[in-house]
Symmetry: C2
Subunit: 187 residues, 2 copies
């Protein structure tokens, strides 16, 4: 199972990026989490360019098409989504493989609800399938927890493991196919 | 009085850009409307770059600082603001001259309310002053009216003239200073 992890901030020290890297670290062997590094490379969306896609957009399309699910973590800027995450989504609006794509939305700042709600509204409008059981809040903002400690902090690691399991189960809903519920015990 | 007009779409045939150009055409001599051509030149917002601003961002800051008011027209993409307009605003979040800046928000597609509401929420969060009397809906989307005809179509031209007058009056609230109410008669 391939998950494409997408961070809506370009800041090097982004806690959303740290959260996604931690999810990658915690993922069981059957789940491959890849961090999308294209968001900062995309041009600003221009419908006039859609006839001959810029290379970075074509690459984004290929990565999204190849992913079984998307895992998005994006901050809130001024009570709105970041321009960075919306710009990426704008390039996916008319991209057919995005339709019915399972998406989990992580929120690292539970007090910030405007961006989370706007992001979900846009994803639904684009016909993505938001996997609610995998879309969790992780109260990271202001917690002061450094990235190396995230994977060993139960209040962060366990919800992330559960979210990954929920995403996997959403993709393979029948227990007889997907096997026992993950996790079966301590790692 | 200097108005900086800002279009949230980069499409060459954007009706929002056409609407702003029509506003420029209709503006009385004392109102100078300048179309901002920087939105497509801005890099994607990255807080790490704020210490040494990219040239296009520095230019945007200068244009915003020099403007008495902003006039924004931006489409809705997938029930959200465009990445292009939010990216520009993200670069203005910590820019002190934006605080208390009078802003009018035009909506060329009155049936689209998500982006309009989200844009206003962000502008208010950034401490702009939304001039409600100048923030109007102009039912352009789907009307089929070509740009050259907009200035001579009363249903479009008159609301635009009224919006410009409202913006001017908001900047010079005392009639004894700003003179008689515009428009005083046919142009």
């Amino acid at each position: 199972m391939k998950i494409l992890a997408i961070c809506g901030s370009l800041r090097a020290a982004s806690i959303n990026a740290a959260l996604l890297r931690t999810a990658r670290r915690l993922a069981p062997p059957e789940i491959e989490v890849t961090l999308c590094s294209l968001l900062g490379e995309l041009p600003l969306f221009n419908p006039d360019l859609e006839a001959a896609l810029p290379a970075s957009v074509a690459l984004l399309h290929a990565q999204v098409a190849a992913a079984d699910a998307l895992l998005i973590a994006s901050p809130e800027y001024a009570h709105g989504v970041t321009g960075v995450i919306k710009n990426m989504l704008d390039w996916l609006v008319s991209f057919e493989p995005f339709v019915n794509k399972p998406v989990a939305v992580l929120n690292a700042s539970p007090r910030a609800h405007h961006a989370d709600a706007a992001l979900r509204e846009t994803l639904k409008t684009m016909s993505a399938v938001i996997v609610e059981t995998a879309s969790i809040s992780v109260p990271l903002l202001g917690s002061g927890i450094a990235e190396p400690a995230m994977a060993s902090t139960p209040a962060i690691a366990q919800p992330l493991r559960d979210a990954l399991a929920a995403l996997r189960n959403a993709l393979a809903p029948s227990p007889s196919i997907s096997g026992t519920t993950f996790p079966v015990g301590p790692p």
